[in-house]
Amino acid sequence: MRRFKFKRETLLAYSFLSPVLLFYLIFLMIPVVFSVLISFTDWGGFDFASMKWVGLKNYRTIFSSQSSFLNPIMTNTFVFAFGGVAISFIAALIISYLISRMRYEGLWRTLFFMPAVTTVVAIGNVWYYMYNPTNGLINGIITSLGFRSINFLDDPNHALLSITAVSGWMGIGSAVLLLSAGLKGIPNDYYEAAELEGAGHLRQYTKITFPLLKPTILFVLITSFIGGLQSFTLTMVMAKSGGPGNSTNVGALEMYNQAFSFGNWGVASAMAIILFFVIFIITMAQLLIFRKGGVESY
């Protein structure tokens, strides 16, 4: 009798879960499995009859000496993701702390969040024109101060950093929102007690704010970093195919071009699988580092 009851409850639970599970199966599991399968084939993306099993050939192509996927493309991807996260995270950490102590906190939060609700294409285009070496706003200021203009997007020494800076700027808003929420969760009593004990602002920040904000920081870092590794729209808008040469090309943009421009769906899928493992390893490493630092909630 008891067993029957358990089965009925289980069935009921699964029936409630079934829409979500079905959604998960159709829109996540099937594409993932399909991608793995395609990565071992030569396929142009149109006709299943033309799909040809090639074993590990696509992976060998990616790791061959002629391939630019590992260097410079994956190197660029890391610089872009690390750089973007570093800019947005450090800025957001400072901004969220400051605005939590200012009047009109909501207004400031809204202002900083605005880039996050604007389309990447619009942001990319605005910055593209601001970076313009002949009539862009930034170079206008630089030349008016008597310096030579900078080829932000045409000089391979500056191009990737210029796009990374925009990515970092774009990410500030979301990070501020999350960190502000984290700051709100810290009881004020701790600060009052610390103040009574004579702790200054810096000591309060390092001994109370930062340790209690660690779970939020971990979430912000992991999600931003994954987003950075998968990002390609901004690069596509500002540097078209990742140029000059491959100096701004990133993993996701290369995959997109391999699949949709060149019809190399097998190579593109193999790149996606490699990127998946890279993201997985880095995320695990981040979790491990934070666990050692005392964050157990993830």
Binding site: L25, I26, M29, I30, P31, V33, F34, L37, G44, G45, F46, D47, F48, A49, S50, T61, Q66, P133, T134, T143, R148, S149, N151, D154, D155, P156, K240, S241, G243, P244, G245, N246, S247, N257, A259, F260, S261, F262, G263, N264
Partner: protein
């Protein structure tokens, strides 16, 4: 383990079944293809904005005269057209008629995207178009559609800027071109380019690589061998062209890569550049009165002798997965082969009105309107004549990829990431590898 295998194979079967189902049928927007019933054909092309507006009256005319076969245009930006074709095809939302850039031909053929043309269309194309156009509209020797824009490359120059620098005629050799450019170029105290002597247009692979191929053709060689099996970059023509390219931008270049040549030419700030014939129509609209300063000339050659150029082709084809192929061919025959009272086809009139481009179809060429245009417009005559000694743009299955490889090597050389020799060798080796793979 067995359970896992079962789950995996089950997932694969479901995935394949779902995707096959999605890809199996075209979007039947307007009804069945049975005779007498209304059919709506979708037409995917890169004609958007003002070009779409120029094409629309002809589509509207067809739709009025043929209530049972309606044509609906879907304009897509050139840069996104191949990607759109591929994503739509993968998603089962196939367009019945596609206007394709023939560089993509090999890739589309490999994936069986385009249907073979009926015999009547194939005969019409082979009899009424020049060889470069027929080759452009053929895959593996079989005609797949109607050639439309067949465009040759030439030198565009600004008469006023050349005159100010003391020149009455455009350059005939590559050395003359470089020498004249240095004299025309003007910079301010900070090194900012005010007037560019000569510059290549930049932005995407085709914009950089097609002029490269045109220059290589003017030096006597195509980018690839005739059998499309290997790169000709290691030839004398290939080396000379890359050498010329290395002298334009970069540390030892004659001008600054950051200067926008395309916009600059329209603003009267560029002395010379390389462009395709269609650009003349755009410049006319953009420059208004200043258009009188624009001159066009055949491609300069390394030694000043008679040289070739590159011709690329666009063509209308029918989707192999379309359920309305018969109706689609009917429309294309009307659009491309049926002359009106003036002796011109709708496509011929559209090309002339929208781009100041002469149709390569023989019946259009012999019409009074085209003959009058050839007399009155030196530009139209120049680019029309250029087709006679133009090499067609080769389209192997790895054509887009080969151009991308060359583009990235040229850009790397222009931005001093690599030297000229490395750019040439890398491009040659990598293109050969890609051609070998496909």
């Amino acid at each position: 383990m067995k359970m896992w295998k079962r789950v995996l194979s089950g997932s694969l079967i479901v995935a394949l079944a779902l995707t096959t189902a999605a890809c199996s049928g075209s979007k039947d927007a307007g009804g069945s293809s049975e005779s007498g019933k209304k059919v709506t054909l979708t037409l995917l092309s890169h004609y958007n904005g003002s070009n779409e507006a120029a094409l629309k009256p002809y589509i509207d005319k067809w739709n009025q005269e043929n209530p049972n076969i309606q044509v609906k245009m879907t304009p897509v930006d050139f840069g996104e057209l191949l990607k759109t074709i591929m994503t739509k095809q993968s998603a089962g939302q196939v367009a019945d008629i596609m206007h394709v850039y023939t560089l993509w031909g090999g890739q589309l053929a490999k994936n069986n995207v385009l249907a073979e043309a009926p015999q009547s269309v194939a005969d019409d194309v082979t009899q009424n178009y020049p060889e470069a156009a027929v080759k452009g509209a053929s895959l593996n020797g079989k005609v797949f559609g109607y050639p439309t824009e067949v465009e040759a490359y030439g030198l565009f120059y600004n008469k006023k800027l050349l005159k100010e620098a003391g020149y009455d005629e455009p350059p005939k050799t590559w050395d003359e071109l470089l020498e004249m450019s240095r004299k025309i170029e003007k910079k301010d105290a900070n090194g900012k380019v005010l007037v560019q002597g000569f510059g290549f247009q930049r932005g995407y692979a085709g914009l950089v690589v097609q002029p490269f191929m045109a220059m290589m053709a003017s030096a006597g060689s195509g980018l690839l061998s005739d059998d499309l099996a290997k790169s000709n970059l290691d030839s004398d023509a290939g080396r000379k062209t890359m050498e010329f390219y290395s002298k334009v931008y970069g540390k030892n270049g004659i001008t600054d890569i950051a200067f926008n040549t395309t916009k600059g030419f329209g603003a009267g700030q560029v002395g010379m550049t390389i462009g395709a014939g269609w650009w003349d129509g755009s410049l006319k609209t953009l420059m208004k009165d200043a258009y009188t300063d624009v001159g066009e000339a055949p491609m300069p050659t390394p030694d000043g002798g008679a040289g070739g150029t590159l011709a690329y082709t666009w063509a209308y084809g029918v989707n192999s997965k379309s359920k309305h192929q018969e109706e689609a061919w009917k429309f294309l025959q009307w659009m491309n082969a049926q002359a009106d009272d003036s002796g011109m086809t709708p496509e011929g009139q559209f090309l002339l009105d929208a781009f100041n481009v002469i149709s390569s179809r023989k019946t259009d060429l012999s019409s009074a309107k085209v003959q009058e245009k050839l007399q009155s417009s030196p530009s139209a005559k120049l680019f029309s004549d250029a087709l006679n000694n133009a090499l067609d743009e080769q389209s192997p299955a790895a054509g887009t990829e080969a151009q991308d490889i060359l583009y990235k090597q040229i850009e790397s050389m222009w931005t001093d990431q690599i030297q000229m020799d490395a750019a040439l060798n890398n491009a040659h080796t990598q293109i050969n590898t890609k051609l070998g793979e496909k």
